[in-house]
């Protein structure tokens, strides 16, 4: 099942990553002096002096220790964690993967990625309520190629910043799939969402996207609007949605420079998404023309 998860993600990092999995009750962590960084369901302890990273899953006993410099991790799953492997991969193991890939030069960003019919790369960043998934699904219905609705990795390829997609279904909440008006999809019961592959919606998968346009999205009650941002404002937003930049000093400089290069590479906009987009999806490209 873990192999299926890795295969489905369709990631191809420049050097292999290794995850050793043990099925046993994990040891209890006591007196770990490393500063704590929390995200929903996962506690991350990272050593400011360049040591490894320790991750704890809060839902069921599971821990991971990521090597300080190499893309290697040792994961210990309790039987109860192993019994909830779907949930474990979606929250805990994907975070372990984020730290492993960071050691290969791939830096996580909370964003959707797509390529429009003209071949321009798009990156949509924002929180879980920012309309990224619904917009990604809408764009797929318009024949766009979609990489991810949520999780991408930034890297430098041929002197261009490229966003590599973590392939997973586009996950829509009820308001999103009602707006989309499409049947089908796969029920994601734990997340109370419906999952759609881009191909189901008329789009295709884009494994890698070179962003030409960045949208920092939120959902509004009026019509869709777009406000251009300068590179400095864009970088501030990119740091916000690529928050692991704040961890691990040895990797933070490379991560920050990738974000700065991306802010220079792409035109950035703050976009308020309105329901009018569903009647007229082309409005998005018109607004940034």
């Amino acid at each position: 099942m873990l192999r299926a998860w890795i295969d489905r993600a369709r990631l191809d990092p420049p050097i292999p990553v290794w995850i050793e999995v043990r099925l046993e009750e994990p040891p209890t962590l006591t007196d770990d002096p490393r500063p704590v960084f929390r995200q929903p369901g996962v506690v991350v302890r990272a050593d400011p002096s360049g040591g490894g990273v320790h991750l704890t899953w809060e839902t069921a006993p599971a821990v991971a220790e990521v090597h300080a410099t190499q893309p290697k991790a040792c994961v210990t799953l309790s039987p109860s964690a192993a019994g909830r492997l779907d949930e474990c991969t979606d929250t805990f193991l994907v975070t372990v993967l984020i730290f492993l890939l960071r050691r290969t030069g791939w830096h996580h960003i909370h964003a959707a990625t797509a390529v429009d019919p003209a071949g321009r790369g798009w990156l949509l960043a924002g929180d879980g309520q920012a309309g990224k998934s619904t917009t990604a699904a809408l764009l797929a219905t318009q024949g766009w190629r979609v990489g991810t609705d949520d999780t991408a990795f930034l890297t430098s390829l041929n002197e261009r910043i490229t966003a590599v997609a973590y392939r997973a279904p586009i996950a829509l909440r009820p308001p999103g799939y009602r707006l989309l008006g499409r049947l089908g999809g796969t029920l994601l019961p734990r997340r109370r969402k419906l999952g759609y592959w881009p191909e189901e919606l008329g789009g295709r998968f884009a494994a890698r996207v070179v962003p030409d346009v960045i949208l920092f999205t939120s959902v509004g009650i009026g019509p869709t609007t777009a406000t251009p941002l300068g590179a400095r404002e864009s970088l501030a937003q990119l740091v916000r949605w690529s928050a692991w930049v704040m961890l691990e000093p040895d990797l933070a400089q490379q991560h920050l420079e990738l974000l700065a290069a991306l802010a220079h590479q792409a035109k950035s906009y703050r976009v308020t998404l309105g329901r009018d987009l569903f009647a007229r999806p082309a409005r998005l490209t018109e607004l940034i023309a």
């Binding site: 930049v245 000093p249 933070a252 700065a260």
Partner: protein, 91 residues
């Protein structure tokens, strides 16, 4: 007594649009600094005194030495307040 300024080891910074963006990894705060401020931070790869840092501004801008010193002094004080720099007193 000599006063030297030290950059916090967990600062990471880069240039964008002629300014500097600084991340403080310990406090997880984000700062923007002017181009001259970025030059001063870059010069602080090793501990430096105010007198050693003033030429960083003088070499780049057409300002009087007094104005450059005041500018650097103000910047250093703001950085110390924000925990971007520490002060070391020697001798």
């Amino acid at each position: 007594m000599t006063v030297r300024y030290l950059r916090h080891p967990e600062l990471r910074f880069t240039a964008v649009e002629g300014e500097g963006v600084v991340l403080h990894l310990r406090t997880r705060r984000y700062f923007t600094v002017s181009e001259s401020g970025l030059a001063v931070l870059e010069a602080l790869a090793a501990p430096r005194t105010l007198e050693e840092l003033v030429p960083v501004v003088l070499d780049r801008y057409e300002v009087t030495p007094e104005r450059a010193e005041q500018s650097v002094r103000d910047f250093l004080e703001r950085c110390v307040t924000a925990d971007l720099l520490a002060v070391e007193r020697v001798g």
